[in-house]
């Protein structure tokens, strides 16, 4: 573990590095930075339900897809872009709050299957409701005016803003009553209930928090790419990738999701460039290695010991115990 204050400093440097990409790099790097911010926002969101509360939610793609469709349809109806994003956020939030009251009665494996089921049902409904959503043909979203450079910068700023927003909420939850209650639920839900934690309310709150900003990110993504379709918006890969990123960094921590999302996105980009045919297999390999060798995530690695053993500081002889 690295001390908290150093983590904040590193995070601040990281955010500045992402924001400043237009000053020192081309559009490719800007796009990569935008993707990292987007993945960070999704992973930070998932952390509320999967990390703090310990519920194995695989519904991220459902919220993302729903948000992208609500945003895209609002924009097509003539709503200004940012308002459309806010509409998507609110819609997904309300939808999840209602859904959470029902599905959070399930636990463990059944919750996992149920959350995947939500992704599938939404995808199938959107794909077959052709008159509203364009069905399998997808939807074209009006592009922003201004050249590609201006668009790239706008969406970089938007994604980083969403990421910081979720991060701020994570900080508040982490230190507040809600976070404490959620951790109690993670450790032993029945005991938490017995001791007076309103488990239903807390779980619904965590589930809603985990969904709302996925909706925002989805809407922003729809405006960014200008085209959405059911298969990409509700992709099973995404719904599993987000928890993997969180596990990679360290689930249930404040900075873990950011570290995991950044590390995973960069790795994935590297594999895409170098091993196009085998990128999925390599992704699978990364997952297997992660589960076996990094069960606590990157943040939990004993960095002090790693450095202590490094060649430029020879190990001291320590007593056995």
């Amino acid at each position: 573990m690295i001390a908290r204050r150093w983590q904040y400093l590193l995070f601040a440097i990281w955010v500045v590095a992402l924001i400043s990409t237009p000053l020192w790099a081309g559009n490719y790097v800007i796009r990569l930075a935008t993707t990292i911010a987007m993945a960070s926002a999704l992973t930070l969101s998932w952390n509320f339900i999967g990390g703090f509360t310990g519920y194995p939610s695989f519904a991220t793609a459902a919220f993302f897809g729903l948000g992208s469709y609500v945003g895209a349809l609002s924009q097509i109806a003539g709503v200004p872009m940012v308002l459309a994003w806010i509409a998507a956020t609110l819609f997904v939030g309300l939808f999840t709050a209602a859904l959470g009251g029902i599905i959070l009665r399930l636990r463990g494996h059944y919750f996992a299957i149920g959350s995947i089921g939500i992704v599938e049902v939404l995808r199938l409904v959107i794909a077959s409701w052709g008159s509203l959503t364009g069905g399998g043909d997808g939807l074209n979203v009006p592009f922003l005016s201004g050249g590609p450079d201006a668009i790239a910068r706008t969406f970089l700023a938007a994604m980083i803003a969403i990421m910081l927003c979720v991060f701020a909420i994570t900080l508040v939850v982490d230190r507040g009553r809600l976070g404490f209650g959620l951790r109690c639920i993670q450790q032993n839900e029945d005991a938490a209930d017995m001791l007076g934690v309103n488990t239903t309310l807390y779980k619904v709150a965590a589930f809603t928090l985990s969904a709302m900003f996925c909706g925002t990110v989805g809407a922003a993504y729809a405006s960014w790419t200008g085209y959405i379709d059911p298969n990409e918006s509700f992709s099973i890969i995404m719904t599993i990738k987000v928890p993997v990123m969180c596990l990679l960094g360290g689930a249930g921590t404040v900075f873990g999701p950011v570290v995991g999302a950044a590390a995973f996105t960069l790795l994935e980009e590297f594999f895409w460039i170098n091993f196009l045919d085998y990128n999925r297999a390599i992704l699978g390999g990364v997952i297997v290695i992660l589960i076996f060798f990094l069960p606590g995530g990157l943040l939990q690695l004993p960095y002090r010991e790693l450095f202590a053993r490094s060649p430029w500081r020879p190990p001291q002889d320590k007593p056995a115990i």
Binding site: L106, H109, Y110, D277, I287, I291
Partner: protein, 286 residues
């Protein structure tokens, strides 16, 4: 008469779904692992059957035991060397791990076999009884699917290893105290799950074109069948499979084929909330 035909179609489909889901259900019930690899194992079985038939002219009926054995070995080794290391951890870990393995297998299949849909064509013609028409190869597939499921049932009921599997499913710690090597039983169970997946793939290749794009669809079917019928029992998978087959077939007729899948998943979500033990409510292999 038209409705009778639809129901019969549904039952034939349901038998295939049973065969497809029973291995998934067994693994979930005994190991408490949601096996995301299942869809890819089904396709692997289908492809091996297809290539045995297409390249070497081996009849699928002859190839079936070989495919089953191959998949058993793959499943046994996967469980013994990989999944056993994390089998007691929470669902998030095991599900993610099997998904990672699925990505690897899927990728290699897509690269080596390509995603072209392929099907074994055995033209046996069509038979009709009292206005109901059914291609013979579908009936054959149904018979094979039920036969395989029945064999699994007999193994679990009658054999020593089967009783050991049931014992582990009922109480792992007690089974260990009785001298059952639990890790070995886990590997055998996962092997049997993979065997049934491969056999289901071989049977599916007789009637439907097989492509790697179908892995997710098959996995989704296995989820739905398990939840409808109840977990970890052959009877549950049989009932779940038949219900799903008939529901999809009827829904396809009533509200249009594009909504049939949605109906299946919606049924699953409702059952999850109302009766998570499934329609049968059976909790084991007792």
């Amino acid at each position: 008469m038209a409705y009778l035909q639809i129901v019969v179609n549904g039952i034939v489909l349901g038998a295939l779904y049973t065969c497809l889901a029973v291995g998934f259900s067994l693994v979930w019930g005994v190991l408490n692992v949601i096996n995301m690899l299942h869809g890819s194992l089904i396709i692997l079985g289908g492809y091996v059957t297809f290539f045995a038939w297409h390249s070497f002219g081996i009849s699928p009926l002859v190839a079936l035991p070989g495919v089953a054995l191959l998949l058993f070995v793959i499943g046994y080794l996967t469980q013994f060397f990989v999944i056993n290391r994390v089998v007691t951890q929470p669902v998030l870990t095991t599900l993610t791990l099997t998904f990672g393995l699925d990505l690897i297998l899927y990728n290699f299949m897509t690269v080596y076999y390509t995603a072209t849909p392929r099907r074994v064509t055995l033209d046996f013609g069509v038979i009709g009884i009292g206005g109901i028409v059914m291609p013979v190869d579908r009936l054959l597939a149904m018979a094979l699917a039920l036969l395989l499921t029945g064999l699994l049932y007999l193994i679990l009921r009658g054999s020593r290893i089967g009783r050991a599997i049931v014992a582990v499913r009922m109480d792992r710690d007690a089974a260990r105290l009785m001298g059952i090597r639990v890790q070995r039983i886990y590997a055998v169970t996962f092997g049997l799950g993979a065997l049934m997946a491969g056999a289901a793939g071989a049977v599916f290749a007789l009637v439907y074109p097989i492509t790697t794009n179908l892995t997710g669809t098959f996995l989704g079917k296995a989820f739905v069948v398990c939840v409808i019928g109840g977990l970890g029992s052959v009877e549950g998978a049989l009932i779940g499979g038949l219900v799903l087959g008939v529901v999809e077939s009827v829904a396809g007729q009533l509200v249009g084929p594009q909504h049939a899948l949605t109906v299946g998943f919606a049924l699953m979500l409702i059952l999850l909330l109302v009766k998570p033990t499934g329609l049968t409510g059976i909790r084991g292999y007792e």
